[in-house]
Symmetry: C2
Amino acid sequence: MPRISATKEAILAAALELGALHGISGTTMDEVSERAGVAKGSVYYNFSSKDRLFEELLTAGVSSLSSALRNARLSAPGFAGIEAMVAAMLALIAGNRALAKLMAAEIFRTDRPWQVSMAVLRREALSEFEAGLAPLVPAGTPRGSLPLMAAGIFGATLMGGLEWLLFSPDTPAADVSAAILFTYSGKLDAGTPPTA
Amino acid sequence: MPRISATKEAILAAALELGALHGISGTTMDEVSERAGVAKGSVYYNFSSKDRLFEELLTAGVSSLSSALRNARLSAPGFAGIEAMVAAMLALIAGNRALAKLMAAEIFRTDRPWQVSMAVLRREALSEFEAGLAPLVPAGTPRGSLPLMAAGIFGATLMGGLEWLLFSPDTPAADVSAAILFTYSGKLDAGTPPTA
């Protein structure tokens, strides 16, 4: 059974807090060591560099997201699976706001040492939305449209989720989910202003 | 008639290129001066600090986005206005990929000296989507849902647009728009796998 190192966990938590606050470039290993209450030598023993430390933090985050999306997708057939994915992603964002903010800022950067592993994982997360969407689009839909739709739903959930946490944290999660999902209902395109 | 300074433009263009490549923290005023082919004194004469330089770059970007969204919204009534806004935003992203990437990475950061002006402008851009959505949602919709829906459509367009430029730049803009808008058609929620 792999031993979970409390030291490693403390280092990752400190890096996350500092990274969300000051950005990755604005965070030093000295500050991480101080915030974690762990000797600097021990920080470097667990993570050979700041880059490795943040790479592990971010890839673990995207990896959790992929698993959660996969489980949600498999939990219900058809559009209910998409609804479950949106809800699962919002729950993850709410559960770890600092990580969600850090991931949102990193997800499209191409100047990081970890950009390749992030791109692979990002693709993995998006492919869960693609897999959920594939049976729902008309047969004639161009293949290239699926990744764009998947990115759209992913982006809507991410941006809606961050909007929620930053500007209306008291709104119940179910209402946030309902608001985002309402845009997919086709009711916006009713043509005339609807009545109650 | 205000004189448009070629020097100022060269500095902003250099800052944008470097910022998109190395991040804002990874960019120095020395590098900006070198890339722009402008003396360092002149860089500081036009922008008192690196923070002011990037603040001007980013706020000008969000401000252009707001105007484009507003024009698009007013160009067509009802859902056609939303369609026009999605298309206008995609056109802006395609027209200035470096700025779109930089803005995507900055839009939810709260550790920047310019966070207040960015938040105000971000709100302005989102409020265009809100204004477009307001007449389209059912009368009983909670007031708090509109900003979340607006953030969702904004996020879908941003993420879909970046996905497009990074991974399928040969797809025509109209197809990207169509893919994102299809998710709002209600057809995903058809219940059973549709036939051609």
